[in-house]
């Protein structure tokens, strides 16, 4: 078992961490390149930069905005995210690993606080999971993976808490550590390739919406042609939309919307 633990702590962790860091950098750069191209190709160069900035900063701390509509959800969600980022980064045991591997270290959380934060993440995660499960509206817009993510993310927190706190036998400690390591590595590995990438893409979403969502004229027609719907105007995919649009709108070309 020690060999499996060493593998998860050594090569596998290096692979996962490097893929996470470089993969996140990659999608940020690709997104920014897309934004740049979209801006260059669009005929409409007017962008509300100030509004984009205001919205981006505002949505980084969504509590103030969501407080009126869904106070409990916004609070739990914020605590979940904050605990999930802060705890692994500033846990003394993790910092020790960095110190051993690269000779770098930083200030650690007090042990007691780290314990409370871990519990907070676990219970906040459970709360979010239940909220999604019990609310019909949330259930409707959820896919299967949306229910799996909280469980996978909770796994290293639960096993880590047990391994570092429950005074069990060394063997049990190793078993929990094994699950902790492999679950953690799996999450790191998946961050840049799944919806977890919102950790870097969320701050870009306002910018992308404002700038890159300016199709060059005729772009929609080309996409439709590729998909084999060349004979149809792209913006009339469903019959119910035709009722809302004025007569003769189909003749104006698809991309103006």
């Amino acid at each position: 078992m020690t060999a499996w633990i060493d593998f998860a702590r050594g090569p596998l962790f290096r692979l996962s961490f490097a893929l996470m860091a470089l993969g996140l950098l990659r999608i940020v750069l690709l997104t920014l390149a897309g934004v740049r191209e979209g801006y260059q190709n669009s005929s409409d160069k007017i962008v509300a930069w100030k509004e984009v900035r205001r919205q981006t900063l505002g949505w980084l701390f969504p509590m103030a905005r969501l407080w009126r509509q869904r106070p409990i959800y916004s609070l739990i969600s914020f605590l979940f995210h904050a605990g999930m980022i802060v705890t692994p980064l500033f846990l003394a045991s993790h910092i020790l690993l960095w110190r051993n591997a690269l000779g770098i270290g930083w200030a650690a959380l007090p042990r007691r606080l780290a314990n409370w934060l871990t519990l907070l993440v676990i219970f906040a995660g459970a709360g979010l999971f239940l909220g999604r499960l019990l609310s019909p509206a949330a259930r409707k817009i959820s896919k299967a993976q949306d229910f799996l993510w909280p469980l996978l993310i909770a796994a290293p927190f639960v096993t880590g808490y047990i391994a570092s706190n429950a005074i069990l036998s060394p063997r049990t400690y190793q078993e929990f550590l094994l699950v902790h390591l492999y679950a953690g590595d799996l999450i790191l590995l998946m961050i840049p390739f799944t919806k977890l990438a919102h950790c870097v893409l969320a701050p870009l979403s306002q910018l992308v919406t404002a700038v890159a969502w300016k199709f060059p004229a005729g772009a929609g027609d080309r996409v439709a042609e590729t998909l084999g719907f060349g004979d149809r105007p792209t913006w009339l995919p469903k019959a119910r939309l035709t009722a809302e649009l004025p007569e003769g709108a189909a003749g104006k070309g698809g991309s103006e919307r």
């Binding site: 490097a18 893929l19 990659r26 191209e37 036998s169 060394p170």
Partner: protein, 642 residues
Amino acid sequence: MDRVVRLKLVLWVMVGLAAAIATARFAFGLGATTHLSDATPWGLWVGFDVMGGVALAAGGFVVTATVYIFKMEEYHSIVRPAVLTAFLGYVAVVVGLLFDLGLPWNIWHLTIYWNPRSPLFEVGWCVMLYLTVLMLEFFPVPTEGISALASLRRFLLTLRIPLVILGVALSTLHQSSLGSLFLIMPYRLYPLWYSPLLPVLFFISAVALGLMMVILESHVTAYLYRRKPETGLLAPLGAATRWVLAVYVAARFGDLAARGQLHYLASGAWQAKLFWLELALMAILPLALMSATRFRRQAGWQGAAAAIGVAGVVLNRIDVGGLADIGRGGPLYAPKWTEIAVSLGIVAAATLAFLFMIEHFRVWESRPADPEADPRKLPEFDKVGFTWLGTPAVAGRVKYSLGFVFAAGAGFALLGSPLAARQGSVPAPVHRARGDAGYLRSGVSEAASLGQPGELPRGVLYIDGDLTRYGVTFYHQREIERNGREKSCVLCHHMNMPHDQDSGCYACHRDMYQKSDASRHDWHASPHGANLACVECHEPGYARTSAHVKPCADCHKNLVPAGATIEIPNYNAVSYVDAMHEVCNGCHVKVAAREKKPEIARCAECHKGRLNFSDTRHYLYSPHAPAGRLVILPPPKVSEVH
């Protein structure tokens, strides 16, 4: 995928792997990432990257001289690609050199602190000056569309002839000075390669290589971009190459004959075979193929001849740079995979730069159709998720960056722990357990008696291997009583030192956290220890490893007491901490299961009192913890050293 796109994807993967290794190399140094050592400071990076790279760049000066000095204007169309190849080749050389220099940030010293008697001084200056010349020669191409630089372009174009002459002069100096570099180490080079003519041989082969490289490069790009090969234009170059190669072969054999070294050719040594292989590749085969008019005028044969010749000359440079000297005096050097990956990565990066240049600037008479910018091409879809990847250009960069990221991740995973490789880990010697040892011989059956408060009672050991005052109280007498008196000894004392009974754990498990050599190899070999010759334990005629060695029991009787159940697979003793956990806790787990008392297998059963569980952790993670853990300390600051 188009062939260009596929090639670029492979190249980006190679660059990604090299980028990961480069990070480790510049963060942790050469020793941690390569097989280079003080005995073999020049390895693949010098032989392939620097010497091979310089030779591959010879096309630049050969073609510029042909067109601008000998006025053979028909070759004008290959000047730009040749100069670009040379420029990128020299950039690759400089990058490779930065990898190979121990203190790359001191590379500017060359310009200020002169040592004119050093061949490396000449090499360094030539690289620097010729790279500048190549940059000035190539500068007009990428700046064609920039009107602000038009006057500068015009000025450089008037300087063309002086620049070409300067380039030829510098190249002549430089190609040959790489050979002179090896004149100062006659006893290191094998006689088939060492020659006072080495500079001349290097220069002649560089001219031939320059011509063959131009031919090869033209054929490869023609294949990639589906252009018509310039076979007819290149055939006279091939004809010229054969004369140069003929001169080279004559010079090589004439030199060997004049020095009286011809008998080495038939010596049967592996170097002789290497010599024949090298000469066949770099001269004889291309010479034969280029001499036959039929082969010379056929695109396939022409390209093949050039490719063989290029491979041969690069092999020649690697041979001189170190391959032929393997095992001559120094320890055996074989390049580590990291060195090979970095070399390939640099070549890949240069190739990518070359493809970028010909796609975006007028390196050829007309730019090739960019395979990623073809407006008629359909957008691509990700084959797994059917996500739209975008136009071919966007799809290209999505794919390339993914290849780069995965290769870099694999590189980091494969690298091992370079910091540990550089610094090692801090030893933590183990000390014997304290407590009352005298009772052991006085009678095992004697019941434990309690001592005064503050004193360790009889029959109790205090196990504190690293002397940090955080240890475990071990009720030795009580364990004897519980586990069957005399029979219990072998449960823990599973092996003894020679002439000893019931050796303590510390006798073999000598480090807290690392394996230690239980057979004490160095002590046995030392004149101050057992003073044994190697063959007294290692079987003669075999590699001296643990595979062919006398068992300890051949000399030392009764090392393993009767009834011991712990098997010893090799000569390494596990760390003290692992041994304690295995033996103590192994027993506790069994008893816990048997007697349904899970609490006795818990960590806190031993680590209690002053060494309670959370206390240990707090203590170990504090910045004031002694260097007892397998903690690798950060490198000392300069102020602390002085």
